[in-house]
């Protein structure tokens, strides 16, 4: 029977990360056996009610290891070599991307990142992942064990199931060599709701023509209690900070409504927002790709469309 190890992540609020809850759904679909979840640090609620058969705890990740994950990789690699799972599942995150890749090379195994689908038929693990910036999909068969994967945010839905797993501690007794040190963390100020958590995202792209229009987008975001996003083109042009970038190499968002203004809808951008419930496009080019992805659209000049849209939104919200 296929054994599956799920690597759980706790977010900065102490909750289980959304990508982990999604990964539980995927992991439970891969085997009829109960799965094991590994978590760094102590297992307290809500970890102890995860819908898994067993929780294994490893040492907490200390601040100097965040972003490098030398010790976390060492601990998880030791657990993998002692328990020999067939499949190791991570949610896609900074942590999953780094530890998953390092683990795969340390165990001379396969790593498939950012998968949107994973299946297991009689021990043959298949995954699907977007490639070429989302222009194409690739299906792979994984031909080495363990199969190590990260799952794209939003690819699976949390199923709301809970469990009462047994909890045990695992100590690797191996200290990673600490040659890289994190000396400080600089947080950049943010107004309002976090982009990844927002129910409404108002994003601007190259079509805005400069930095000033982002203040209008911010007004709309505020009216909707949402957050401002941007395409990579707008960030690289310096119109808005890179922390607002949505897309393959920026943030992945899945709001109820994603409003794309002056964004052409290149696949690299859509990779970060395609799991939104509804995409709304305002663009003056009727042929632009964004209208192939959007549910609602207005073909027109954002400078004329947006003020009346914002005013009507304000009336409706009043």
């Amino acid at each position: 029977m296929t054994s599956v190890l799920l690597v759980a992540e706790i977010d900065d609020q102490g909750a289980i990360s959304q990508t982990t809850l999604q990964a539980v759904t995927a992991a439970n679909g891969l085997t009829s056996a109960e799965i094991t979840a590994v978590v760094a640090g102590e297992a307290t609620e809500p970890v102890t009610s995860l819908a898994v058969g067993k929780i294994v705890t490893i040492s907490a990740i200390d601040d100097a290891d965040i972003g490098v994950y030398d010790q976390a990789t060492t601990d998880i690699a030791a657990l993998v070599s002692s328990t020999k799972p067939d499949i190791v599942v991570f949610g896609k995150s900074d942590f999953g991307s780094i530890v998953g890749a390092r683990l795969a090379f340390r165990s001379d195994s396969a790593f498939a990142s950012d998968c949107i689908e994973i299946s297991n038929a009689d021990g043959t693990v298949k995954i699907t992942r977007p490639v070429y910036g989302g222009s194409a999909l690739a299906e792979f068969e994984i031909s080495s064990t363990p199969a190590i994967v990260t799952l794209r945010a939003g690819a699976y839905e949390p199923d709301g199931e809970t469990g009462s797993p047994a909890v045990e501690a695992f100590a690797s007794n191996e200290r990673a060599s600490r040659t890289v040190s994190v000396t400080d963390t600089v947080s950049e100020a943010r107004d309002g709701v976090r982009l990844e958590d927002a129910n409404f995202v108002v994003s601007g792209g190259r079509g805005l023509g400069g930095p000033e229009p982002f203040s209008v987008l911010a007004d709309l975001a505020q009216a909707l209690d949402g957050a401002v996003g941007a395409s990579r083109a707008a960030c690289d042009a310096g119109w808005i900070d890179h922390s607002h970038q949505v897309g393959l190499t920026g943030k992945s968002v899945s709001p109820d409504v994603y409003i794309a203004i002056g964004i052409s809808g290149a696949s690299q951008h859509m990779a970060g927002c395609s799991s939104s419930r509804a995409i709304v496009a305002i663009n003056k080019d009727a042929d632009s790709n964004i209208f192939k992805e959007a549910r609602f659209g207005v073909v027109g000049d954002w400078e004329k469309v947006l003020p009346s849209f914002l005013a009507t939104v304000r009336e409706l919200k009043a």
């Binding site: 965040i66 972003g67 490098v68 780094i98 890749a101 390092r102 795969a104 090379f105 396969a110 790593f111 990142s113 298949k126 977007p130 490639v131 070429y132 910036g133 222009s135 194409a136 999909l137 690739a138 299906e139 792979f140 068969e141 994984i142 031909s143 040659t179 890289v180 040190s181 994190v182 000396t183 400080d184 963390t185 600089v186 947080s187 976090r194 690289d236 890179h242 922390s243 190499t249 943030k251 690299q268 990779a271 509804a278 305002i282 209208f291 549910r295 609602f296 659209g297 207005v298 027109g300 004329k304 469309v305 947006l306 003020p307 009346s308 849209f309 914002l310 005013a311 009507t312 919200k317």
Partner: protein, 266 residues
């Protein structure tokens, strides 16, 4: 002391290829090169070249080697890092090397680096725009046993170590890494410089150093994939956009908001 830097670079189809020209040959599971759109060096790898050049600009004595693995190299594309200011271009050019998975690519790169090294810094782009992965530099760190820092947006030499800024979701980390280390560079570093005429002239005179698999002691048997590509295809889009048309653009904006309310989206 000269700081020896190797920048890992990959030739990829131009990601700016218009979607209408992006086509896949499903019988070979490969992208059909778009007419008149030549391949390019992966954009993030050019960010890594730029990072190396900025170390030189800041006064460090650096030697920059660009290293790539593939086949059917287009020299005009691959020489761009030389035109920007890199010193050497080393290409491992053999049949089938453009189809390697990350684990096989790492084996080839590790063999070249062991032969051509030691290097003080190994820089790569955060990911490649063809397979969208970014595993190679991370794997190389594991295989060579070197320290690794990903997503670097700024770097400075600081004696025998490097001071780094690493991008995180809401800011950055300050990190000190020893030399040698492997770093992946992200686009937050800033746009790669455009080659100037002098750079282009110099690059045109430089000859790439071309290696075969045999030159680095490997055969294709060493490069079996861990991931087997079974199918590559362009997904069908079945979404139908509902275009909102008012009497004029302002009216369209108003009607759009009302339509979203009707759908209970706002």
């Amino acid at each position: 002391m000269t700081v020896r830097i190797v920048v890992l670079a990959k030739q990829v189809p131009d990601p700016e290829t218009p979607p209408s020209q992006f086509k896949i040959d499903e019988s070979t599971n490969s992208v059909i090169p778009a007419n008149g759109v030549p391949p390019v060096v992966n954009g993030f790898d050019l960010n890594a070249v730029e990072a190396a050049l900025r170390l030189r600009d800041s006064g460090a004595d650096v030697e920059i080697t660009v290293l790539s693995v593939g086949s059917d190299f287009v020299m005009d594309a691959m020489k761009k890092p030389l035109a920007m200011g890199a010193d050497r271009l080393v290409l491992v050019d053999d049949a089938g090397l453009d189809k390697l998975d990350a684990s096989a690519t790492v084996k080839v790169l590790a063999a070249v680096i062991e032969k051509d090294g030691p290097f003080d810094l190994i820089l790569g782009g955060r990911q490649a725009s063809d397979w969208d992965q970014g595993h190679v530099a991370l794997g190389l760190a594991e295989v060579l046993g070197l320290p690794l820092v990903s997503l670097v947006q700024k770097l400075e030499m600081d004696g025998a170590s490097v001071s780094l800024q690493r991008v995180i979701p809401d800011g950055y980390q300050m990190i000190t890494a020893p030399v040698p280390s492997i770093l992946t560079i992200t686009n937050e570093l800033g746009e790669p410089r455009y080659p100037n005429l002098r750079g282009i002239m110099q690059a045109s005179r430089k000859k790439p150093e071309i290696l075969s698999l045999g030159d680095i002691g490997l055969t294709s048997d060493d490069l079996a994939p861990r991931l087997e590509l079974k199918r590559l295809y362009v997904p069908e889009s079945n979404r139908q956009v509902e275009l909102i048309k008012g009497e004029d653009e302002a009216d369209s904006g108003k009607k759009l908001a009302l339509r979203l309310r009707e759908e209970k989206l706002i």
